[in-house]
Symmetry: C2
Subunit: 476 residues, 2 copies
């Protein structure tokens, strides 16, 4: 039985976020008990376990920006002390011709590579490009083998990354019954047509309905709005009610999460959509276009620091959700648990550096808890990776060519760090007011509990599925 | 005696660059002999050796862009098969207050971290920030220990990266006697004042003079112009003549390099300044600002491919220089060899994707030769890393928000790849006409010949010095 994590390995990022740190310490005392490490009863042959942590959009720029801000340029994140590091070549193909690569992924196709071991086109949830065939995911293999399974995320549980581990649908936006067929006039490529996926047409229905009908043991995250919809072909029964009739205890508050009785399946929906993030720029500051003075000289934005996001109050931390999931799954069986910090990506899209730094901090804090679990259960493979790159880049806070009036042509922020310096963060993949694009950079892979000789410097993204499934002995 | 590399491990990037490939194959036949691998005579206790390969500006975006172009999105570079991969936190401090970090480095301070194991300020060559003290480099330690030493680069041998391994001067631009004190009116921060480094003032003189006076066994690269200058306090004697009187055989052509007699010190200067790069965009195409049509829609640049750069004809390849260095250094003693592909950085500054892809290809080709050497000499530690990040980012070739008229606000190129797709490369750290800035991202570290348990997921940049010096038993 997993009891919690030791105080020695808790390193909340203290200093400017005293309130947040205090909450963490109190959480430790109240929620976790903070006992000394207790050893599990030694089983004859412990069942292998996999915990896959995905930082959505967590590329090397994101990690460096977060490290500099959280622990300083000489500091170390928990990620930095992982025994093994590789990189992952993200793989995407064109929908109309799957023989042709696309060099920048989205979270749907990249999560499908990791969950099902296939390369597909953007927007697809565990289905093949062009031919639209369903592909078995590692969660489905684990369920069939009688293993425990869990999905934890700070996005809607129906969002592309978690969905790709359990659902099969041709377009990621088909999250709920009313969203299966929609027209987006502004951006036609964002229109959806999942009519072939309707249950009445022989499909599996929307992503929420597929989760409600699933045999996952634990599903925790946001997205309550999608489960509040009336299910397809029903007159009043909601997706949430279908989940309940399928055996799910459906919860929605931090208190319910902390006081969960043992046993049974649980579906936790802690926000209407994406869960609020823990930090924001002081006074809600974000990156902005660089203004110009009359003589053409740039008016660089004022440096700012991060502060707690008021909207985060009452939201379960990622580590609290992960702890609850581990407590439920720790019954001696093998299990497959996917934990996602989703808003590293979403906040970078929105050019909010404190947002993505805070969510990377949530991931690193959760990694501490997971590594504590793995220390007690050495049969646990821990993988940490990203699905694709993001727009934020760490650049000089003033250009080397500032005397020539040079400054970022994109959205630019300057963060004041606790070590007395200023860090420049640039967002310049496109010039729209709306949001940034992803990037196609190879992404990090960290591992512990794996024979290190198995990992060369780079692995294709589909290897995340292979490595996980081999560790669980689901494939050979 | 190292004889060359086997044909089996030669994988020149064939296809579009048939001429270049042909040259490589002919080189193999003519210059290398291409014999089957020959084992070195087994020594009782082989002397440890270190080969440090630096890709200037070679971050994960650069590697992914190069991989996609050179071997395809499912292909593998030699880098990708290295047994060990970590990342390096680049470290820089402010000149006026070395307690305060700067989050983006230049090649001088980052090379000093690797060569001498200290964190210093930008522009400094193996000297301390603010206090301007000289710091002993690994090459100096190796010379003092009676080991072989070599520096190979595609930049001027006086440029920041190579200079930091052997010279000590307060500002990187002090490459030659006439460059010690200069005023740059356009960019005052590019002005130099190395008057305290004049030999007549008790200093060590310009970088070229320090190299000429050094005990390095092999120095190969560009920068002939700096050695053609009259030395400080001389009336007619050039720096080159001083090098010759110090025992250097000074050469300047590919033919002289290929027909070097054995023994003695060699200084090869194969270009006036930076050596020409092997590739350019077809018709000299490079990234450009995205033009707008009357209705605001972006006029995306036409995709292009890479072609041989005519100016490269007659220039020794990086691998040829590396081979010559290895042949001279392979005398049974320990040695420290630094090999730099310098123009990955310089071409990214200039927004020339084919330029930096071609120079990364030169690095990967050279790595093949180095790994062949290390296979025959397993006491060789091979490290491959970058000094800092660069501006090029791999982005969608058309923005996801293209229907909203979104496109890069920076300099943008679209490369047509051999696998039938188009790759978007963006440069947007600043909006100057002149060049891009560096980035502060953590950079890759690849290793072979090291106990892999020694490398966690991240090491500080000063550890490159420590790891190399420990392997050579120069420090404990």
């Amino acid at each position: 039985m997993f009891r919690g994590f030791s105080t020695a390995t808790m390193r909340p990022y203290d200093g400017i976020l005293r309130a947040s740190s205090l909450i963490a310490v109190v959480s430790c005392l109240v929620l976790y008990g903070c006992e000394a490490d207790t050893q599990s009863p030694a089983a004859a042959a412990p069942a292998p376990k996999v915990i896959l942590i995905i930082g959505d959009g967590m590329d090397d720029h994101q990690i460096t920006i977060a490290r500099n801000y959280l622990v300083g340029y000489n500091g170390r994140l928990r990620l930095d002390d992982m025994p093994e590091r590789s990189s992952v070549q993200v793989q995407t193909v064109a929908e109309d011709d799957p023989a042709v690569p696309v060099y920048v992924a989205d979270s749907a196709n990249s999560a499908t590579a990791m969950s099902a071991g296939i390369v597909t086109s953007t927007g697809r949830i565990a289905t093949t490009a062009k031919t639209d065939r369903d592909v078995t995911t590692i969660m489905e293999l684990a369920i069939a083998a009688g293993f425990g399974t869990g999905i934890v995320t700070t996005s809607s549980v129906t969002d592309a990354t978690p969905a790709s581990f359990i659902a099969h649908v041709s377009e990621r936006l088909c999250e709920a019954p009313t969203r299966m067929v929609r027209t987006n006039e502004r951006i036609p490529s964002f229109s959806t047509d999942c009519s072939a996926d309707f249950k009445t047409r022989g499909g599996r229905g929307s992503i929420a309905e597929q989760i409600a009908a699933s045999q996952l043991d634990v599903v925790l995250g946001g997205g309550a709005q999608y489960f509040a919809e009336v299910a397809e072909n029903e007159t009043a029964t909601t997706v949430r009610e279908i989940a309940a009739s399928n055996g799910y205890r459906v919860i929605g508050t931090e208190h319910e999460l902390a006081s969960l009785p043992p046993g049974g399946k649980v579906l936790g929906l802690f926000a209407r959509g994406t869960m609020p993030v823990q930090w924001r720029g002081a006074g809600d500051a974000a990156a902005a276009l660089v203004a110009r003075q009359d003589d053409g000289r740039p008016q660089l934005p004022e440096p700012f620091m991060c502060e707690p996001n008021p909207a985060f109050a009452g939201t379960p931390r990622l580590s609290e959700m992960a702890r609850a999931a581990l407590q439920r799954l720790d019954d001696g069986r093998s299990f497959m648990l996917m934990i996602e910090s989703a808003s590293i990506d979403k906040q970078s899209h929105l050019r909010r550096p404190c947002g993505h730094i805070g969510e990377l901090a949530q991931l690193d804090e959760t990694l501490g808890l997971v590594l504590d679990y793995a220390r007690e259960h050495p049969e646990t493979l821990v993988l940490v990776t990203a699905d694709h790159g993001q727009a934020a880049t760490l650049v000089p806070q003033t250009s080397v060519l500032a005397p020539l009036k040079a400054a970022s042509a994109g959205y630019f922020a300057r963060l004041r760090t606790r070590e007395g310096a200023v860090m420049g963060v640039n967002y310049a993949t496109n010039d729209s007011l709306l949001q940034e694009d992803h990037t196609g950079v190879q992404v990090p892979l960290f591992a512990s509990g794996l024979d290190t000789r198995d990992l060369p410097a780079m692995v294709p993204q589909t290897d995340i599925f292979r490595i996980s499934a081999e560790h669980l002995r689901l494939i050979e």
